[in-house]
């Protein structure tokens, strides 16, 4: 089953130098259980594409399908609902809600989506090595710990699609590898599809497939 379909996505931005086309008809497919690494130079449009896939940003043209739902045909609240129930998002930073502790953060999306399962959250927390940190607040965590909480929160809601934008970009190499390991393993176990944006070839190599963005188009997909 297909988790994410992007069809001929175009997107340009108005800048001081005029209209800049960032995405020029990009198409992608991602099956359930599959992981895809999206690479490209800084400024090539990776984040923009991920934002469009998450419904955070509107494409100028093209179609975004999450599972069987056509996101481009939906309004603001429809896309928000889809995000709540189907999509897990992990960014480089600012993932966590600063006023809630780790336990509340972990369960947040699952409870929002109405699929909270306390036992599953506890298990995830244990596997992510978070059990001792449950009462802490985000500002009291290291970067790696914060990203592990973000992964836990995302997976606790059992999304069909996980979108991660350089989730380890702020971490040192060893910690980053650890976090990425956990993410790959747990998404695979959950049977979710993973779109991982990264500019690191080394990390990209660990995904099932790869796509490279260059000059607004997918240059090579394997």
């Amino acid at each position: 089953m297909t988790a994410l379909t992007l069809q001929e996505i175009c997107k340009s931005f108005d800048t001081a130098e005029g209209k800049v086309a960032v995405l020029k008809s990009v198409s992608l497919r991602l099956e359930m259980g599959q992981s895809l690494a999206l690479t490209g130079e800084s400024g090539s449009g990776k984040s923009t594409l991920l934002h469009i896939a998450a419904g955070l940003e509107h494409p100028d043209s093209g179609r975004v399908m999450v599972g069987a739902d056509d996101m481009t045909a939906m309004g603001d609240s429809g896309r928000a609902r889809l995000r709540r129930g189907q999509v897990g998002l992990i960014f480089q930073q600012f993932n966590l809600i600063p006023s809630l502790n780790v336990a509340a953060n972990l369960g947040f999306q699952a409870r929002l989506a109405g699929v909270h399962d306390a036992a599953f959250v506890t298990e995830l927390a244990a596997r992510l090595g978070l059990d001792a940190l449950m009462r802490r607040y985000p500002e009291q965590l290291s970067g790696g710990q914060q990203q592990r909480v973000a992964i836990g929160r995302c997976l606790a809601a059992r999304p069909a699609l996980v979108l991660a934008d350089e989730p380890t970009g702020n971490l040192d190499e060893a910690t980053g590898d650890q976090v990425l390991d956990l993410m790959l393993r747990l998404t695979a176990e959950a049977g979710a599809a993973l779109l991982l944006v990264t500019h690191s070839e080394r990390l990209a190599a660990r995904c099932d497939t790869r796509a490279h963005l260059r000059a607004g188009q997918i240059a090579a997909a394997q």
Partner: protein, 795 residues
């Protein structure tokens, strides 16, 4: 270097225009409210002192004839005997297009008074008919044949002229209204009683009844002005503090570039002075306008209610402007001191990041709790043991400050509790997040709390004052008609005339006496249901009215009761010619500075025979009929007769104007607080994006988030309102039963008006919603693009 630094520092405001507007507006409003109230008070006060200087003639005693007219012969007899007296002719006359009070004086024999000084400025003109009048009077009456010179030294509505001119204008035919006695009289004079037995000696205290109630009124206004100023300073403090936090990086850079700390501090101080001067000037302008707008109401209130002459237009006093600017500067210094102090202690390589609020706020909170507790203890001690007006005001300030400081602490506890018991994740976040952001809103909420409790406190006080005043009016004006006899023979004739026509005739007689060591008066009271049924008594003994009627004791007014510490049932009061009598109870006597005692008619007649009857209060079912009979059949001039119902109605209408002023000030204070909240919410909304972004990414729409932001502001506002309620009532209690008693000797019974609170709650909610609307709307409309920026870390 310094200039470059200054321009760099000032460039911050170009990027944050809203912050600048807030700072300037906060200062300007604070200045406006404070100086506006000051201007009102000063204008009214100077009007009183003008009136007193001119009319009470230096506080001298005076001689009057019961008929209101003194014969020239009696004046001549007194002068021949060596008495230093100065004749005055006073009366109402038509002049131009209006009616004025004509005051004729003899500048040569008059004591040094304002009137005499005025006349002396052009003695020849004065003797040749030149008069003096307030510019407003001149405008009101238009051109006249009478030569008049404008001067603000004469009260509005009065024309000061020479005796001869007054005689012509009034047509008094050589009669004198009264004779003022000089303070210094030669020794060995023939006593007045034998020299002029017909004339009554009137003590100067009789004339000062005005100041009792007006002082209370001005005290209210001053308290209000001060509170408004404090609220304004809260805004300034938060704006200055925020600008400081945001410019930390700039400070660091400037210092790294070699700008000495002292220059940097001087630059910032200079910046603050600049802002204070700009907004202080604007504030003075607004304050002047505000005072001008309110003055006609204040003037009417004071003129109508207390008979105090206050002009309806404001004069500009440069001293007032200077004092206002000084206050602004001092306030700015107070509000900015903390920021400057922190700058002075900031290490050169301090992190450019604004310090983590959460960490710092923990310590601040503990400190705040300590200070609040200490102030509360001080207030408690003062409430239990303090005496005097200073203690009263300190109690007031300590209570308010303690309450304001406690606001964030109480709110934090409530929010934490709400977060704990809420079930849904969004609710949990809502409360937790509100709590997290509390430190940044707490100043604004404290300002709101002050504004609301001041509203409730002063509102309760004024409403209690009003209710009491109505009771008092009812009490004083129970009789339907009041008649003033001009002589003892007329009094006798009137009594005979009225006996068959009225339901009851209550004569009013009094003498001046020293009571419990204080200047006072003794009244005679006829035993009648008018008093039995209507007079509320404080602490009466059993069968108080029967015992009073039987001559077994006295009633005293509340002032005497409190000042002399009299206990009804056990205390005795020494009365001249009577001896000690048991005190039977006390009655409220608002606004009277003198002590008062009431005895039965028989007691009075026995002890003070020949005391003239000053007036008759008449009970009747047929007011118009009786009034017509008095005028047509008895031939009493209409000025000697008052329809009490009409008098009451007039007093009430005028009194309502007082409320207009209070309400206007209430609205203004609340607006200032709303502005403070708006400032805090706007600045907060910029910093909150990173807190909101994850929620948005997780599937909350910007509309939902905006609604939650509105709800948060409303919830905090309502909680503050709930906290403000007891504080406001406490404030009212302090104002009514501490300050008022200390200042004026009488206590106003407190009455509560829950409907007023509901209305205030509604207004406060609207103010809070208005303050939160723009940031919320911005989040809803433009939120998505801005929230996305949070994640677009590479830019």
């Amino acid at each position: 270097m310094t200039r470059a630094a200054l321009s760099a520092l000032l460039s911050h405001w170009r990027g944050n225009p809203l912050q600048l507007v807030m700072l300037l507006a906060g200062l300007a409003l604070a200045t406006a409210l404070w100086s506006g109230v000051q201007a009102l008070n000063a204008e009214a006060r100077s009007a009183y002192s003008t009136a007193e200087g001119l009319l009470s003639e230096g506080g001298a005693a005076r001689l009057e004839h019961p008929s209101g007219q003194i014969d020239q012969a009696e004046f001549a007899r007194l002068r021949r005997a060596g008495w230093q007296v100065s004749p005055v002719i006073e009366g109402r006359a038509a002049l131009g297009t209006g009616r004025v009070t004509v005051l004729g004086i003899d500048p040569l024999s008059a004591e040094a008074s304002v009137g005499a000084a005025l006349a002396a400025s052009d003695l020849e003109g004065f003797f040749n008919g030149l008069g003096f009048a307030h510019p407003q009077t001149l405008a009101e009456i238009g051109p006249t044949d009478q030569p008049l010179r404008a001067t603000p030294a004469v009260p509005v509505g009065t024309v000061l002229v020479d005796l001869a001119t007054a005689e012509t204008l009034l047509g008094t035919g050589g009669h004198i209204t009264r004779l003022n006695l000089s303070l210094a009289q030669p020794d060995g004079l023939q006593p007045l009683e034998t020299l002029v037995p017909d004339l009554r000696l009137i003590a100067p205290e009789d004339g000062v009844e005005l100041s009792g109630l007006t002082d209370s009124f001005h005290l209210n206004l001053t308290a209000f002005g001060l509170l408004a100023f404090a609220v304004g300073l809260f805004i300034v403090h938060s704006a200055v503090g925020l600008a400081f936090e945001q410019r930390r990086a700039m400070f660091r850079t400037l210092r790294a570039l070699g700008l000495p700390l002292r220059s940097l501090t001087a630059c910032l101080a200079g910046e603050m002075v600049l802002f204070a001067l700009i907004s202080g000037t604007v504030g003075l302008g607004i304050g002047y306008l505000l005072a001008s707008a309110l003055l006609p109401n204040v003037a009417l209130t004071l003129r109508g209610l207390y008979g105090a002459p206050v002009p309806g237009s404001l004069q500009f006093d440069p001293l007032w402007a200077l004092a206002g600017l000084g206050m602004t500067l001092a306030g700015t210094a107070l509000a900015g001191a903390q920021a400057l102090w922190r700058l002075w202690h900031m290490p050169i390589l301090a992190p450019a990041q604004p310090r983590a609020w959460a960490h710092a706020s923990g310590r601040t909170m503990r400190l705040q709790a300590g200070v609040a507790l200490a102030l509360a203890c001080l207030a408690a001690v003062l409430a239990l043991t303090g005496t005097g007006l200073v203690a009263g005001f300190t109690l007031l300030a300590a209570t308010l400050l303690a309450a304001a400081l406690a606001v964030p602490l109480v709110l934090a506890a409530v929010l934490a509790g709400a977060a704990r018991i809420s079930r849904t994740p969004v609710a949990q976040w809502f409360w937790a997040d509100s709590r997290q952001n509390l430190p940044r809103l707490s100043l604004a909420l404290m300002a709101l709390m002050l504004a609301l409790s001041a509203n409730i406190g002063v509102g309760t006080m004024v409403a209690s004052f009003r209710a009491t005043f109505i009771d008092w009016l009812d009490l004083r004006l129970v009789a339907e008609v009041n008649v003033l006899p001009r002589s003892p023979s007329e009094a006798e004739a009137l009594h005979a005339f009225l006996t068959p026509r009225a339901d009851a005739i209550l004569p009013m007689q009094r003498i001046d006496a020293t009571l419990g060591g204080q200047p006072g008066q003794i009244y005679a009271m006829k035993d009648h249901s008018t008093f039995r049924d209507n007079w509320p008594l404080i602490d009466p003994v059993a069968n108080v009215w029967d015992r009073l009627a039987a001559g077994e004791g006295v009633l005293v007014n509340e002032q005497l009761y409190r000042r002399a510490g009299l206990a009804p049932g056990t205390s005795m009061l020494e009365l001249p010619n009577i001896g000690p009598l048991p005190v039977l109870g006390a009655y409220p006597d608002y606004g009277n500075p003198l002590a008062q005692a009431v005895v039965s008619l028989d007691r009075f007649a026995a002890a003070y025979p020949e005391t003239p009857i000053r007036q008759f209060a008449i009970r009747t079912e047929d007011t118009p009929g009786l009034m017509a009979a008095l005028q047509d059949d008895f031939g009493l001039p209409s000025v000697q007769i008052t329809d009490q119902a009409q008098a009451k109605e007039l007093s009430l209408t005028i009194f309502e104007r007082t409320f207009l002023i209070t309400r206007a000030l209430n609205v203004l204070t609340l607006s200032v607080a709303a502005l403070a909240l708006f400032a805090a919410l706007v600045t907060l909304s910029g910093m909150r994006l990173a807190q909101l972004a994850p929620l948005w990414a997780l599937g909350l729409t910007t509309r939902h988030l905006a609604a939650l932001e509105l709800g948060r502001a409303l919830a905090l506002g309502l909680m503050t309102m709930v906290l403000a309620l007891p504080v406001g009532l406490l404030l009212a209690q302090v104002l009514l039963s501490v300050i008022n008693v200390q200042a004026f000797g009488w206590r106003l019974p407190m009455q509560v008006f829950p409907a007023d609170w509901a209305r205030l709650g509604l207004w406060a909610s609207l103010a809070v919603l208005a303050a939160a609307a723009i940031p919320a709307l911005r989040l809803w409309r433009r939120g998505a693009a801005q929230l996305l920026q949070v994640f677009a870390h590479e830019r």
